[in-house]
Symmetry: D2
Subunit: 342 residues, 4 copies
């Protein structure tokens, strides 16, 4: 059986990544691609690397007949996404890649995103899309909220440790190194090649990055008490990748064993041998997440490092993984592409 | 039916690329990986990006039982390759990725590679591996010689034009821009990141690049008279890609039509609309070749630009395409991965 | 004696480059920096790398008292520049970095830039700013028109050869590889890091690049008859640099000797030993131009390759070199910085 | 008065950087360049970017007449350096760029560098070369030990804070992001462009990096009790730069004021406005260090970020700054070059 798929926001990087992945999926067919600002264009003109595929032309969202759609991937900007999803027929399954349905508490949404939510009933319904930890809920969900790409990386490193109680909850520091495609295809001076190439810097310093809302929500829920982590992202001159260096206080071997046990049957989470460090180059273009653990020379300290591709496992790959579950397909369908190195 | 595959020289980039592609191939199984200098190591230790695959450990060539192998990909260095292939059982099919069997005339081999050939009988048997132009011979070949990556790119732009007689054979200039993975994983000062990043230059200037042997052989054969092109490669700070800017004298529209007709049913060669220029970013990690044609402001001049990924269509992808034909499989099996952009 | 300097368009890359160079100039003082869109800001907020300098805040052009200025560098956009310069007091010397005064023939201006010129009397007065070839005129000029960066590179390779009559004037091909800072700090999708990094392509193909107007003007003037070159620029994933690979028909040794003789006393033009190829990395951040010549395997063909930094020798360094001459200073003042490698 | 300078190890990046800086120095003359493996070559053949300079050819160390030398910069590999410096005449001043004389305690040297020191008397004499904190000792020193580039960066962020007692000494985490030129010009697989470009990773994890010896020595000395920091370096796909993100516990405003006061008269250390983050691109190619401080959302936590160019302020620029002091010259001579951006 072939599922009919629509992608909204198809002219952005996450839209293109979805098309790339679905191109080799055995049971999905892309029947509609929407991008209001580029409606009428052929996808090959917006993304020439997809030229070999037989894809529908871009349309406006209004032009899509959603009764003929089984599942919608929604890659629209934050705030826009919630209004569009609110108005979709309830018979359509939705995987949202925006931030609009990630936070369960409407007040937290206001705090981090600075405006009232326009689709509170959908927000109540949405399932948080970190597949490995919400698998069962996702299988029966109608609306799944894709996680932040930084938020996913940090959670892969930390959730099992918080759950198992093997680290000090008040001494967690996440130093993230993010590639530039996470900022999307928007025209901003600091995303220009001449600005970014050969230079790097911290941004959203001091605990102001919105993905902290997700960390707070999820870590506090697992711990059963408020947990606040310190989180500083850095922009790195590379196109794909997130590397999370996580400083924790606890026994490194116990930490390693806890993570290894949690992920031993996960198809996409790969534990490196103890003491090895992952690299973004080894996950590029794939849905895999590599995790390494080492002890520090200071007793009682450990470093957990997680690497994934922000566009794949951090966004569109995660979305497809969730869609597979929602549609009753094999979870790994279309996602076993090996990383593209060098 | 699953074909048993061995890869010799598996610790190089072309070896890793073959593993990446075969990972999603429906009817090939990698049963042996050889790399004499790294025998005994797990492939995941040499190429951590392949960690998720269930691969045999690296062995020496001697340790392989070739009676259990259907096809060998040979990614060994030039000169070494010919001796190894000469001594393989004749029941094994071979796709060679080195330069050893590309030139049909032993004297040309001596001229370009500077030593006597050690496997002249194999050289006589080998079929030149430019799939689109040697498809029938490849289907029945035992030994196929992979082309040079630059040689492939230039030929895609020029062969149909020479064949059709629509350009001046004495005024052909190929200005190639090559990414660094084409130089392999060897330790050379000029391949260091600190040397290459943010800088670019011509190399093998003056008509000294060995791939000219292939151009001379193939173009002269097609034309029925000696054809010598001018060819200058440049090393560009990027990992994957070849962009061939080909300056020819002829009618641009006729040139475009000639190429379009030649490639209209080819699964991997994509003609862009007239007047558009391809980019390496749009073929990265894929087996596709994009070709654009435009007329110059000087009457009677045209520019043909071809872009492909040197590791895929220029090397390992081509090798797999040929192996598919030799084994009676679908030519495109394992090769329809969309390019990885951004 | 210290000359009072104003820079108009100080928030662009050429403006910043001028400040960088003038920072160590022994006899220039920057007394005004104008950038209408960022007036009121400190230069350190627009360009933090200039933080250590004691610079005036950005103002609008209207706010500058030009009676207190000896020389103006005008780094405004094309078309804007001509109006501003037209209205400056005639007592002020001007080095323009835009394209507005490069073409001597008003009709050629209309042809390449698509509109009537608004300052024809200034256009008549302007001296073409290719220092090495217009040195005497520049010394006594009030208004000097900076050349195009591509145009400068190609002319360094070709002017002496056309002048000496040692190459075929109808068979000249310039294949240029340009770094991205040449496109300025403007917000365009194709200048984003995620678009450009690890990819490269030709642009302005078919003889449509505006710098051809300069080539036509200068080469025809030298030759005493119309000369049209074929010119294809390519955008390369690097920040600084232009590499011009110039294909000519003539005797390589004669060509080399001609260039060597022309440039033997030039402080900034460096001839490499015969047969060597220059690299952009070896001129980065400097005012030097490296030129190499080699013969091709095809008799009667030669390749001339010139490398320079588009922001320095191709733009702001050239401008400062010209300003030095106009102000009676040592031509090399502030310009002997060694290239920044790696 | 012109000082006669020799550079040992002139074929490495730090040697080239010294030549670049000294090229515009008003009172230094390079009279000898040594590189045993490349003796006999012209410097322009080893580093073509220095082609415009009138430099002596490379020689072996034995060939240098040290009686004619005022000061030697020694850029030799660790362990080699100590033997060479031990045997130099004591009339020659020496700035060593290796690690050989950084550690005051011979046992610490053995611990971090794994062998007995061969010049203990010189080790006793050497002054630690962090200019801003050892200025007076350096002025009268004969032998100055250049600091590690990572060690310098971390100390600029932390020394005043430890001295002032405004942070918790047991909760200091340094997460460093280092560009690749810090690893030198050596031929290692992980330094190849194809390996490093578009990828990044942690290395020397767990507190094993040798620069920790310097941190331990200096921080403990200042604090008057043992201080151990947690330090994880990361290799970033860029050529120049170190960014140290330092996580500390203390009052951010007090921290900012402490740093601002310490550095208010320093010519090369620039404090950013409170709450701003520095970028490596804004110090590239210069001797400046930018420092930013911000408070975290978690009360009592602050982030100090320092950026410098590893080859300049982290190595050769620091060496020249020290040499200026040792020779009685202006400390900033030859070092006021503005950063090269973009």
């Amino acid at each position: 059986m072939t599922h009919k798929i629509a992608i909204l926001g198809a002219s952005g990087y996450t839209g293109a990544e979805l098309v790339r992945l679905i191109a080799t999926h055995p049971s999905m067919e892309i029947v509609a691609l929407a991008a209001n600002s580029k409606a009428g264009m052929a996808m090959a003109d917006v993304f020439p690397h997809l030229r070999h595929l037989d894809l529908p032309d871009l349309v406006t969202i209004d032009q899509i007949d959603f009764d003929a759609i089984d599942l919608v991937f929604c890659g629209l900007p934050h705030a826009t996404s919630q209004k569009v999803i609110r108005d979709l027929p309830k018979t359509v399954k939705v995987v949202d890649l925006s931030a609009d349905f990630r936070l369960r508490d409407p007040e937290e949404y206001v705090k981090w995103y600075g405006g009232q939510h326009d689709a509170l009933e959908c927000q109540a319904e949405a399932v948080y899309g970190l597949t490995e930890f919400y698998r069962e809920e996702i299988k029966s969900a109608r609306l799944v909220a894709g996680t932040g790409c930084n938020a996913a990386t940090g959670q892969y490193a930390l959730r099992p440790l918080i759950e198992a109680g093997v680290i000090d909850l008040d001494q967690i520091i996440l130093d993230l190194k993010c590639a530039v495609s996470g900022a999307g295809r928007s025209l901003k001076e600091n995303l220009l090649h001449a600005e970014l190439s050969e230079g790097y810097h911290a941004y959203a310093i001091g605990g102001t990055h919105r993905h902290l809302g997700e960390f707070d929500q999820e870590f506090s829920k697992i711990a059963g008490r408020p947990v606040k982590v310190q989180f500083t992202p850095h922009l790195i001159p590379a196109n794909r990748g997130i590397l999370a260096t996580v400083y924790v206080q606890g026994d490194a071997q116990v930490i390693y064993d806890t993570l290894s046990k949690t992920y031993e049957n996960e198809p996409f989470i790969q534990m490196l041998p103890f003491g090895q460090a992952p690299s973004t180059r080894h996950v590029r273009g794939s849905n895999f997440c590599h995790i390494g653990v080492t002890s520090d020379r200071i007793a009682g300290r450990a470093i957990v490092i997680a690497a994934l591709d922000n566009l794949t496992k951090g966004s569109s790959g995660q979305a497809l993984q969730n869609a597979n579950l929602m549609l009753g397909e094999e979870e790994t369908a279309g996602l076993m592409l090996a990383p593209c190195f060098p």
